[in-house]
């Protein structure tokens, strides 16, 4: 068959293969051009800023730029004993320039992050350095305060030399790098972040479990009831879903307050006496109750959409083959709902782990989560690099969960109800 080797030509005389490839490429470009505006927009306003967060979280150029001469002279210093005269001299000139630019306050804040006690001695140095004489700066600086004669403080300055640092990440885990460069835990009474991480995981986990336990029966009921009843009941799920988060949080604040309806009810049925009503708000209970109710629709909807596709004849078949209703449910129905369970749990867990508004309003001090800490550093302490570091730690946690989910269930199963 000689025609096999012959190329098939289009009417224009171009080989068909080439022509098809050309058309394919054109279609590819067309499709891509449609996506391009949004893709570009998301990359510029969203993906790059997250990269910017990463840069900020490791950026430590500030001190490096404030003390250029000092760091240059420190290159040869081994850090064993007090640095030589030239380091003191360089530091004195850097410091004078900072005073001129009125930036010495920033330096003291920054160095204080590394080692406590810098704030007061820098203030003192600023006052005394006005009357410094030329030459022999080592003696003069050391005379200002005994900490300036302590090698630990000079090592602390040297530790800030690199332009990049992972200190903020260590701080987020309640750890730090000590004078010898070892990574150690902070003192027990100052560990705040680890508790917050654990609490965030704990609350997110239990909220997911509660949501699952509550959503499964009602999703099943919605999926098995005749349409006209289930549509009516669906409103009970969808109305909270479409209602503002703040409205729902407000209603829980009214319900859970000490003079609120839930407490009234407890008093009425005699569960508690009138003068020691239960405190359900501004603690963990508040976070649990409100978050469970608010996130419940996100569990019901995926479960419902999966259960809707399961034919009731499967259960009947299971029963007719000799299984009790419980065995038929457990062996036939339940395994078929696993994609829905996966999607619902993933959605609820991820929403819960990043929750901010509700815990801030009903959680009090013992019910706040890691997000509240991030917001606190963004708005109050203005330590943006630390907020960025914690945000990225949270983000990487979320991405790990997604990856696991994708491995176990497959990401395509997510449905929006």
């Amino acid at each position: 068959m000689s025609s096999e080797n012959k190329q098939i030509l289009t009417t224009d005389g171009i080989p068909l293969e080439v022509s098809l490839k050309k058309a394919e490429k054109k279609n590819k470009i067309k499709a891509f051009l449609l996506v391009a505006p949004l893709l570009l927009f998301i990359i510029i306003t969203y993906v790059f800023p997250i990269g910017d967060m990463l840069m900020r979280s490791v950026d430590d150029k500030m001190v490096t730029e404030m003390l250029p001469k000092t760091y240059k002279s420190m290159e040869t210093w081994d850090g064993e004993e007090l640095p030589p005269e030239e380091v003191f001299e360089a530091f004195y000139f850097d410091f004078q320039r900072l005073i001129e630019e009125e930036r010495e306050g920033k330096l003291s804040t920054q160095l204080n992050y590394t080692k406590n006690g810098f704030k007061s001695i820098i203030k003192k140095l600023r006052r005394k350095s006005k009357s410094f004489e030329e030459g022999n700066y080592k003696e003069q600086i050391m005379a200002v305060h005994k900490r300036w004669a302590d090698v630990e403080y000079w090592r602390a300055i040297k530790r800030r030399a690199p332009a990049y640092t992972y200190q903020k990440y260590l701080k987020g885990m309640d750890m730090y790098e000590n004078e010898k460069g070892e990574i150690v835990n902070v003192a027990e009474d100052r560990r705040v972040h680890r508790i917050l991480w654990l609490r965030t995981l704990e609350i997110a986990f239990f909220v997911t479990v509660f949501c699952f336990l509550m959503a499964y029966p009602i999703a099943h009921l919605l999926a098995t009831l005749p349409m006209k009843y289930s549509n009516l009941l669906m409103i009970c799920v969808l109305l909270p879903f479409w209602t503002s988060l703040l409205v729902r949080t407000a209603s829980w604040m009214i319900l859970l307050q000490q003079q609120g309806i839930v407490n009234d009810f407890f008093v009425m049925i005699g569960l508690v006496s009138d003068d020691n009503r239960i405190e359900m708000m501004f603690n963990k209970t508040g976070s649990y109750v409100a978050m469970t109710q608010i996130l419940l629709p996100f569990m019901v909807l995926p479960l419902y959409s999966v259960m809707k596709t399961i034919s009731p004849s499967l259960m009947r078949a299971g029963k007719s083959l000799g299984g009790t209703p419980f065995i038929a449910f457990w062996k036939v129905y339940f395994p078929l709902t696993i994609p829905g369970i996966g999607a619902g749990c993933l959605l609820v867990f991820i929403l819960a782990i990043g929750y901010y508004i509700t815990p801030a309003l009903v959680g009090g001090a013992s019910g706040t989560l890691i997000s509240n800490q991030i917001a606190f550093h963004m708005k109050s302490t203005l330590d943006w690099s630390f907020a960025s570091a914690m945000g990225l730690m949270l983000l990487s946690g979320v991405l790990v969960i997604y990856w696991l989910y994708n491995k176990l269930v497959g990401i395509d199963n997510i449905k929006l109800g």
Partner: protein, 284 residues
């Protein structure tokens, strides 16, 4: 859900327990919303049911908190409502335009790197809001758009497009592409085909995506808290401040209005969903 007559007693009991559990969960879901209604008509300043209200005494009810909401000077609810609507409307338009066009591209079988691009496009929905808030704030601050309406609208477009992309791609998955080819063979140009053939067919998906985007923007508070200045205050911000400082009945009046609004949105979304299901039924 009536049980057949031959059901054994213990299954019968189990069935009623199951129904009771369901009723309790439905009550838990919906009841909190109904606390707000009566209390917003409270004549007193406290957020508890007064004795007069329990007796249904007409004097215990009043519209004073609604008056305070509209005419009160302490809370700029008017400005907040105006801002919220302006921002939400522009954010919705932006999200729908960008999202629909992107969904068209993503649904083409020629689209390269579909999975990766889809992941990037829907990432704002997946990433916790607080992180999006921080990242978008850094961008807007650099671009000089912090504390401007433009900045907030752009931020809400970022948060709203994933919903549009998802709903429109879902609608397009049941779309019969031979109708557009038929239009093309009859001499229609691509733009004309889109406006006359594709758009009317995918409209339910586009509108429900738009509703998602609208609600996302209208309710969004985390990102706005980072971005907004005094001039850009929105309803969620006012509610947030109000709830943090002092729970006043005026907030409940606002909340009641918001519940009415969400009921309207719910009804629209449901009608659209049914229409789109009907249309898809015809296609099959």
């Amino acid at each position: 859900m009536a049980l057949p007559k031959y059901t054994e007693t213990h299954y019968r009991i189990w069935h009623y327990i199951y129904l009771t559990i369901c009723a309790a969960v439905f009550f838990f879901l919906i009841a909190p919303l109904f606390v707000i209604f009566p209390l917003s008509f409270n004549a007193e300043e406290f957020l508890v049911f007064s004795d007069g209200m329990k007796r249904l005494d007409p004097d215990a009810f009043s519209l004073r908190w609604y008056q305070d909401m509209i005419y009160g000077t302490k809370n700029p609810w008017g400005l907040a409502a105006k801002n919220s609507f302006v921002i939400a409307i522009f954010a919705t338009i932006g999200s729908v335009l960008l999202g629909t066009v992107a969904a068209l591209g993503l649904s083409s079988r020629h689209m390269p790197y579909k999975g990766l691009i889809m992941a990037v496009l829907i990432s704002p929905m997946i990433v916790p809001l607080i992180i999006s808030g921080v990242a978008i704030f850094f961008f807007m601050a650099k671009a000089g758009l912090a504390a401007t309406h433009t900045g907030i609208v752009l931020a809400h477009i970022v948060l709203g497009t994933p919903f549009v992309v998802i709903t429109v791609t879902a609608t397009l998955s049941g779309f019969d592409h031979s109708v557009t080819r038929a239009a093309a063979s009859l001499g229609s140009n691509p733009v004309n085909t889109f406006m006359k053939i594709t758009l009317p067919l995918i409209l339910p998906g586009v509108i429900s995506g738009g509703l998602f985007a609208f609600v996302t923007s209208f309710d969004e508070v985390v990102v706005v808290l980072f971005l907004a200045g005094l001039e850009n205050t929105t309803i969620p911000i006012q509610m947030w401040t109000g709830l943090r400082e002092q729970l006043s009945p005026t907030i409940l009046a606002v909340a009641t209005c918001l519940i009415v609004l969400s009921t309207l949105i719910l009804v629209t979304a449901e009608l659209l969903r049914r229409r789109s299901e009907r249309l898809r039924g015809i296609n099959q």
